[in-house]
Amino acid sequence: MRSAHIVLDGHVVAENLSLDFPGGRTTCLLGRSGVGKTSLLRHLAGLLPGSRATGPVAYMAQRDLLLPWLSVLENVLLGYRLRRDAAARRTAEPRARALLAEVGLADRLHDLPQTLSGGMRQRAALARTLCEDRQIVLMDEPFGHLDAVTRLDLQDLAARLLQNRTVVMVTHDPLEALRLGHEIRVLSGRPFAVGPVIAPPGAVPRDPGDAALLALQARLIGELRSGA
């Protein structure tokens, strides 16, 4: 991303911002609420007025955004439905089924989303995001409103399924960033500035009990607090 200006409701969120996201890896953008993380992600997705998508992207929001009148399987295939490409849809269907099996929803294919729990719905949304099969995946606090244990489970699942894709994930949770990010960038200030690359050691998903990781978490929290 080069020389981006992000303006939201007349406020400059970021000026002359250039960022590199390493291909095939997960970059976590960490920042406090209201710093402009979501605006940055929406800018990358081409969802802000005047912004253009950086190419074909798959986008996962904080809410699951499952359509209540479609079955879980149809929701996962939504992109193919909307693009009205019957042939692509036929080839995508086995992948949709396989993804739903991976996220543990193999026996809920034909159920409506309202019959699922919050964690299951978010897993279905993850399957939908991956079913789009795009190299760039943008995620906006995808596990933000789940309970702590469900969130850890989903992080493990996401780390496995997102392997080799270029992922930009926005989060306010230092632990989440440390578990999933090959690289972490801290966003702070107004308009926000992006901190240097932090690359924690070890393969993702990292163990939440690891001592080095917890020390790094303390450092990140300190940085977030001072950078307000």
């Binding site: 929406r42 997705a45 081409g46 969802l47 998508a53 074909p56 992207v57 798959a58 986008y59 929001a61 809410r63 955004l65 359509l67 209540p68 009148w69 939504l78 992109g79 439905r81 909307l82 693009r83 009205r84 409506l112 309202q114 789009e132 943008l138």
Partner: protein, 245 residues
């Protein structure tokens, strides 16, 4: 069960009132007298009821189809919104009842003028309920569709339209409750058949019990139409559990 007991209580009170005050039947017939007429003139009542029911159902269907089509056109086309939407809103300033005589003048004493009247009276609630629903799609869904490169037509038909169905369902319920008014007003103004026609005729001849019998059937028709529309409305949104009750 409880509303039924209330209704029976009210009917009993009505019977007692007539009995105590000695009001003549051409002013206020007792329910027992209405019931007798209902049985005696049942064939006539059924014949007229079939006529009125056809007007209501056809008017409802016509109003729903035209109203829904226009709402979709408004949602799809900015030009239509700019050129025609204000007109539809302003047209609500015309009291529909006031143009009933005109409809009879143009479309005759037959069924067409009543169907038009019923369709016209429900047209606005149908258009506005569906159009409002189409405008209030969850922006999150629309953004998701945008990242999926969905064409606008697919977004309208596969996201905005289904998302608007709960709003449309309440429009259908209102329409079913209001459509009988259109049909009956049409019959009062000028008709050669129907329950409204039967009412004006029998009142003019002092046959008040027959008018009440027609009114009773009319209530049942309205109730049946509403129940049917409510069923239809629920089938439109199977993913929404029925609320209340």
């Amino acid at each position: 069960m409880r509303p039924l007991i209330t209704a029976l209580g009210l009917i009993a009170a009505w019977e007692a009132l007539v009995w105590l005050t000695g009001l003549p039947p051409y002013i206020l017939p007792p329910p027992s007298r209405v019931a007798v007429v209902l049985v005696q003139r049942f064939d006539l009542l059924v014949e007229q009821a079939a006529w009125t029911a056809s007007e209501m159902v056809l008017g409802l269907a016509l109003g729903l189809v035209l109203g829904a089509a226009l709402a979709v056109v408004f949602a799809a086309s900015a030009a239509w919104r700019r050129w025609a939407l204000p007109l539809v809103i302003v047209s609500q300033a015309i009291p529909v009842i006031a143009i009933a005589p005109l409809l009879v003048l143009w479309l005759g004493y037959g069924m067409a003028s009543k169907v038009a009247m019923a369709a016209l009276i429900i047209f606005f609630p149908v258009v506005s309920s569906l159009y409002d629903g189409l405008r209030r799609t969850d922006p999150g869904w629309l953004e998701l569709a945008r990242t999926m490169d969905a064409p606008p037509r697919a977004v309208l038909l596969q996201i905005r339209l289904p998302a608007a169905l709960p709003a449309f369902a309440s429009g259908v319920r209102i329409a079913a409750a209001v459509a009988p008014i259109g049909a009956v007003i049409g019959e009062w103004v000028g008709a050669s058949a129907g329950l409204g026609f039967l009412m004006t005729q029998s009142l003019a001849r002092g046959q008040t019990p027959l008018a009440f019998a027609a009114l009773t059937i009319l209530c049942l028709l309205g109730l049946a139409l509403y129940t049917a529309a409510d069923r239809l409305a629920r089938r439109l949104v199977p993913w929404q559990p029925p609320q209340g009750d």
